[in-house]
C-alpha cells in the first residue's frame, strides 16, 4: 500500500491532494464493502439458523410443554414420547468425563510447551498438538470404534460402547482446544512475574504451581469452557462410540446416547412431530452453546475489570 488510502476513501482530502487514482479508489471501496458483506453473512447466518431452528422446533415444545420435553424420561418417538432428559443426561455425562480426563492432559501439555520444553522440543510438540485439532472428528470416531472399543469390550465383557469409550476419545479431541488457549494465557503473563519468582529462589515446579497457574487461571477457565463447548457439540466421533441407546445408562460401559448423536441417528427417517422434536433438541444445543460463549465473555470482562482496577 502506498500513501494512506483511508484519507481518500473517506473523501476528506478530495480535490486537495490526489493520493490515489480513481480506479484504486473504486477497488478500495469495493473491497471494503465486500469484507463488510462477509462479516454480515456470518451474523446473518447465526440469526437465520437460530430463527429457523426455533421456528421448526418450537411447535412441539409448546405442544407438550417445556417441562415434559426437557424433563421427560423416555425418548421413544415411534410411540409419541419425546422426553429428552436421557439424552441431556448422556450429553452431560460424556462431556463431564471428557473434561475430567482431558483438562489435566491439556493443561500439562500447555505448561510443558510454555515453561519446560526446549525450543527444539517445542517445535516438535506444538505442530503435533495443532495437527490433532485438524484431524476430522470422523477419524477419531473410527479409531474409537475399531481400536479402542474392542479393547474396552475385552476388558469389560460387554460390547465396548459406552461413556468410557467416548470419554477417552473426546478427552484427546479437546486437548488442542484447551492446550492452545492455556498456552496463550501462560505466555501472556509478563516475564517479570516469572523472573521475580525465580529470583526468590523458587524452583520451576514451584513457579508453575504457585505463580503461573494462579495468574493464568482465568485464561485456563476460558479454555476449559471452550473445551466443554467442543465436547458437548461433538457429534460424529461420539455417535460412533456411545452405542446410541436413548436410555439412562446403568453404568459407564453400556450404551447411551447424546443430543447430537441422536439427532444424526434419527434424521434420515424422522417425520412430523419426531422431526420437530429434533429441531427442539437443536434449540437446546443452541442455548447451551450461547450460554458457554456468554460465560467466556463474562469471565473476560471480569478479568478486564480486575486488571483495570489495579
Amino acid at each position: 500500500m502506498d500513501g494512506d488510502p483511508r484519507t481518500d476513501v473517506d473523501g476528506t482530502n478530495k480535490g486537495n491532494l490526489q493520493l490515489m487514482s480513481r480506479s484504486t479508489y473504486i477497488k478500495e471501496t469495493t473491497l471494503k464493502n465486500l469484507f463488510l458483506l462477509c462479516a454480515f453473512v456470518a451474523v446473518m447466518g447465526v440469526a437465520l439458523i437460530f430463527l429457523f431452528v426455533g421456528w421448526r422446533g418450537w411447535p412441539l415444545i409448546a405442544d407438550i410443554g417445556v417441562g415434559s420435553f426437557l424433563g421427560g424420561a423416555e425418548w421413544n418417538p415411534t410411540d409419541g414420547l419425546f422426553g429428552i432428559l436421557p439424552l441431556i443426561w448422556g450429553s452431560v455425562v460424556v462431556m463431564a468425563g471428557a473434561l475430567v480426563l482431558g483438562t489435566p492432559l491439556a493443561v500439562g501439555t500447555a505448561v510443558f510447551l510454555s515453561e519446560i520444553a526446549s525450543p527444539k522440543m517445542r517445535s516438535l510438540v506444538r505442530p503435533a498438538v495443532e495437527l490433532l485439532a485438524g484431524i476430522p472428528s470422523v477419524i477419531f470416531g473410527f479409531f474409537g470404534l475399531i481400536v479402542l472399543r474392542p479393547l474396552i469390550a475385552q476388558m469389560t465383557g460387554g460390547l465396548g460402547f459406552g461413556a468410557v469409550t467416548a470419554w477417552i476419545i473426546l478427552a484427546i479431541m479437546i486437548v488442542p482446544t484447551i492446550a492452545t488457549l492455556t498456552e496463550d494465557a501462560l505466555n501472556s503473563i509478563s516475564p517479570g512475574v516469572r523472573e521475580a519468582s525465580y529470583a526468590m529462589g523458587a524452583t520451576t515446579w514451584q513457579t508453575i504451581y504457585k505463580v503461573l497457574i494462579p495468574s493464568a487461571k482465568i485464561g485456563i477457565l476460558d479454555a476449559i469452557i471452550l473445551g466443554m463447548g467442543r465436547a458437548i457439540g461433538e457429534t460424529m466421533a461420539v455417535l460412533m462410540v456411545v452405542g446410541n441407546a436413548p436410555v439412562f445408562p446403568e453404568g459407564v460401559t453400556v450404551p447411551l446416547s447424546t443430543l447430537t448423536s441422536q439427532i444424526v441417528m434419527d434424521m434420515p427417517y424422522a417425520a412430523g412431530d419426531h422431526r420437530t422434536a429434533l429441531f427442539g433438541m437443536a434449540i437446546v444445543l443452541f442455548m447451551v452453546s450461547m450460554g458457554l460463549v456468554a460465560a467466556v465473555r463474562l469471565i473476560s470482562r471480569f478479568q478486564t475489570s480486575i486488571s483495570g482496577g489495579r
Partner: protein, 280 residues
C-alpha cells in the same frame, strides 16, 4: 490489494458451483409415455433404483422413477393407477387379495441371527430370539450357554432389516431399548465379531466367517432353507402390477429378474436371489 481479489473470486465461484445441483434422472428427454413409475417398499428401493438407472442406460429415452413410501403405499398406488409397479416387502393381506394384482417375486430377504464365533449356542427358538431382543434374557447361561452378559446389538429405525426383524422375529413387540443401536450392517457384524457376548441380526447375504449364524427353530439359515420356506426369519420381496406385466413394466421386471441384476445388485444388497430357487 488487487492480488487479494484473486483469492476471493475463486472462492465465490466455487460456492456457486456447489450450489448448482446436478439434475438427476437417467435421460432428461423421456416423455410421459416412456416413463415407468415404481413405488413402494423402502427395502426394495435400492435395488429398484439402481436397476432403474441401469435400465435407462441400456434403453436410452426411457425414464424409471423410483420412490420408497412403504409396502402398503406401494400396493395402494399401483391399485389406484398412479404407479405402474408397486413394490412390497410383505405378502398381500386378505383384503388386498381381490384387487387383481399380479405378483412377480424378485428376491428373498432372510435375516440371520449372529453371535461371536466362540459362543457355544448353536440353536435358538424363534421365541427365544424374541425374548433375547426384548431384554428378558440378559445372560447366555439362561439359554444354556456360558455365564456371559448378553450384549444386544440393534439397527437404527431407518433400517429395512430392523423393520423386517421387528415384524417377523419380534412379532411387532418392542425391542429392549438399552441395546446398542448401530447405523449399518457392517458395523453390526464387526461389533458382534469382536465381543464375546454380543448378538445381532443382519441380512443373510452379509454373513461371513467373522461371525456365527445360529439356527432358528432348528433350521440353519442358508439359501436352501430360505427358498424352501423352512427358515423362519425370512420374507419375499414382490413387484405387484395390475394384471400380468406388459410393455415397459414387463421389460423392467424381466431386467430385474435377469442374472445381471440378480447376481449383482440383489446379492450386493444382502438379499437372496429369486433364481436361487430354480438352481436347487
Amino acid at each position: 490489494m488487487t492480488k487479494r481479489l484473486w483469492i476471493v473470486l475463486p472462492a465465490f465461484a466455487l460456492a456457486l458451483a456447489l450450489l448448482a445441483v446436478p439434475l438427476s434422472g437417467c435421460d432428461g428427454g423421456g416423455r410421459a409415455t416412456n416413463e415407468l413409475v415404481v413405488t413402494g417398499s423402502t427395502t426394495i428401493l435400492p435395488i429398484a433404483e439402481i436397476a432403474g438407472e441401469m435400465f435407462c442406460d441400456n434403453n436410452p429415452g426411457y425414464k424409471v422413477l423410483v420412490s420408497g413410501l412403504g409396502s402398503s403405499a406401494g400396493i395402494e398406488t399401483v391399485t389406484r393407477g398412479s404407479s405402474d409397479i408397486g413394490t412390497a416387502s410383505r405378502d398381500l393381506k386378505d383384503e388386498e387379495m381381490d384387487l387383481g394384482l399380479y405378483d412377480s417375486p424378485l428376491a428373498y430377504d432372510a435375516i440371520a441371527v449372529i453371535v461371536h464365533p466362540s459362543n457355544p449356542i448353536d440353536n435358538l427358538t424363534k421365541e427365544q430370539v424374541r425374548l433375547i431382543f426384548n431384554g428378558t434374557y440378559t445372560n447366555w447361561s439362561e439359554l444354556g450357554g456360558r455365564d456371559l452378559r448378553i450384549g444386544l446389538v440393534n439397527r437404527d429405525e431407518a433400517s429395512g432389516t430392523r423393520e423386517a426383524f421387528y415384524k417377523i422375529a419380534m412379532e411387532e413387540t418392542p425391542f429392549d431399548r438399552t441395546a446398542a443401536v448401530l447405523p449399518g450392517t457392517g458395523q453390526v457384524r464387526s461389533v458382534v465379531a469382536q465381543a464375546e457376548g454380543a448378538v445381532g441380526y443382519i441380512s443373510l447375504g452379509f454373513v461371513n466367517d467373522e461371525v456365527k449364524s445360529v439356527s432358528v427353530d432348528g433350521v440353519d439359515a442358508s439359501a436352501a432353507t430360505v427358498v424352501d420356506g423352512t427358515y423362519p426369519i425370512s420374507r419375499l420381496l414382490h413387484f405387484f402390477t395390475v394384471g400380468e406385466p406388459a410393455g415397459l413394466a414387463k421389460e423392467y421386471i424381466d431386467f430385474v429378474l435377469s442374472d445381471e441384476i440378480q447376481q449383482g445388485i440383489v446379492i450386493d444388497a444382502g438379499f437372496t436371489p429369486i433364481s436361487a430357487g430354480e438352481a436347487l
